[in-house]
């Protein structure tokens, strides 16, 4: 048996950006000073958007909303919040 018409179902597939580019909401961006960073991973633990790479300690700015939790929690002061242009 074969469908005579293609089923037109309301299905969506997960893909990068399908939830919107939430990074555009940011007023301040977190910037990591790699010299001060001890790679303790606390920023990765606290980030509510899961945009910090655990090992490289890099930030995915496409989705970082700039909440500043990582800068607040960083024990070595390696993350600063810089105003977006």
């Amino acid at each position: 048996m074969k469908s005579v018409t293609k089923a037109y179902r309301p299905i969506s597939w997960p893909m990068k950006g399908s939830g919107g580019d939430t990074g555009s909401w940011r007023s301040h961006r977190p910037v990591v000073d790699t010299k001060k960073c001890s790679k303790c991973q606390l920023c990765w633990v606290y980030c509510p958007e899961a945009v910090i790479d655990r090992h490289e300690i890099t930030i995915d700015y496409r989705y970082c909303k700039g909440c500043g939790v990582c800068a607040k929690e960083c024990p070595t002061g390696a993350i600063s919040m810089e105003k977006e242009e």
């Binding site: 018409t5 179902r9 299905i11």
Partner: protein, 376 residues
């Protein structure tokens, strides 16, 4: 080659046997008279290992159909059954099953709607679900219930639209009639395993029925509308191939009796249409050229088949077992007039409401009613 088996069975148990023959995977169920006999029988089949399916007892009909929708979205072949107020309670989820394009098959055992309470048959419950996007069959015998459930799964899975199989409470659901059971290998040939082209699958994540914008929503609705209409040839094909395999025939979209030369045509659904054959014989004996056009497929309404089946200049007596509140008479009469308008100006349509809430419809009573309508 195995032979068909003939047993005596009720309509409700015939439905359960069809569910077993269809090798259904999931059956959510909640009891309501007169449907409960179906679910009791299916639950027993699952319990004693006759049917390899998951039976899900739930807390109400809204949840019954929600479970059916979820199971169908996960790729299962799903059956459930309800009646009357249970069907009304499902109303919201009926829309979800149709809009979600999920091939659920459900029996609705026709029963009047409250208030006041009644347990007996009329078609107010199923006809009230007209605009939910379901295909609707209406059956006139225990055998037709069995046959139609199998045809319903086939049509539903071909076009991804849910199908409701309706038949009268007690008159069909609880009365014994001879029932022919085709060999399982024939049924398997008619209804191969369900292989959906999409299903909810954790290994390939997708999300179902997200919020849409107008540009996305409108095409979904348009496609549902046109695909329901496109199911008519599939309904005919299913009936024909079922006949080729099992030798049994209940009509396809319509079922005609002594119609060719008829000047007076009775138009009805369900068990009263079976009794009407006898009324037609009575009228013929009285010298009246009477015939019957039984509507088997209520939705999509088979306009072309009705328009071409009605003999020239016929008086059509629509016998409605339901009310079309806000209009005089019943729902079938309004539907019939709408398809005849502009196409068959030779036809006269007359209408009576009868049999509400199980009022007995005998062959003599209906013959007399038709006779009286001729003089109106």
């Amino acid at each position: 080659m195995k032979e068909a088996r003939v047993i005596m069975d009720t309509g409700a148990h015939a439905a359960a046997l069809a569910v077993k023959s269809a090798r259904v995977d999931v059956v959510p169920g909640y009891p309501i008279t007169p449907q409960s006999s179906i679910m009791e029988a299916v639950a027993a089949m699952v319990e004693n290992g006759e049917l390899d399916a998951r039976f899900i007892p739930v807390e109400g009909e809204h949840s019954t159909l929600a479970a059916a929708v979820a199971a169908a979205a996960a790729g299962a072949r799903v059956f459930t059954a309800t009646s009357s107020n249970g069907l009304l309670y499902m109303h919201e989820v009926l829309h979800m099953a149709a809009g979600g394009r999920l091939p659920v098959v459900m029996c609705n055992v026709n029963r009047g709607i409250f208030a006041p309470w009644t347990l007996w048959a009329d078609q107010q419950d199923s006809f009230a679900q007209r605009d939910t996007g379901w295909i609707q069959y209406h059956c006139s015998s225990n055998q037709e219930v069995f046959n139609t459930i199998l045809q319903a799964f086939r049509v539903a899975e071909q076009i991804n639209i849910p199908v409701m199989v309706n038949f009268d409470g007690f008159t069909i659901s609880h009365c014994l009639m001879p029932l022919t059971l085709p060999p399982q290998e024939d049924i398997d040939r008619f209804l191969p395993p369900h292989k959906p082209e999409w299903r909810l699958d954790p290994a390939h994540p997708s999300s179902f029925s997200n919020v849409t914008n107008a540009a996305e929503y409108a095409p979904f609705r348009q496609m549902l509308s046109s695909d329901i209409m496109a199911s008519i040839p599939l309904v005919k094909q299913a009936a024909q191939e079922y006949k080729d395999i099992t030798g049994m025939w209940d009509g396809d979209t319509i079922d005609a009796y002594r119609l060719e030369d008829a000047e007076v045509v009775a138009f009805a659904v369900n068990s009263m249409a079976a009794e009407l054959r006898l009324s037609i014989d009575i009228l013929r004996e009285q010298g009246i050229k009477a015939g019957l056009l039984r509507l088997r497929l209520y939705l999509p309404f088979p306009a072309d088949d009705i328009v071409s089946a009605l003999p020239q200049n016929a008086q059509v007596m629509v016998l409605d077992r339901n009310y079309n509140f806000g209009h005089p008479g019943g729902i079938l009469a309004a539907e019939l007039k709408s398809v005849l308008f502009g196409r068959r100006s030779d036809i006269t349509v007359k209408n009576r409401v009868m049999g509400i809430g199980g009022v007995d419809l005998t062959r003599r009573y209906m013959a007399a009613e038709i006779r009286a309508m001729m003089d109106e």
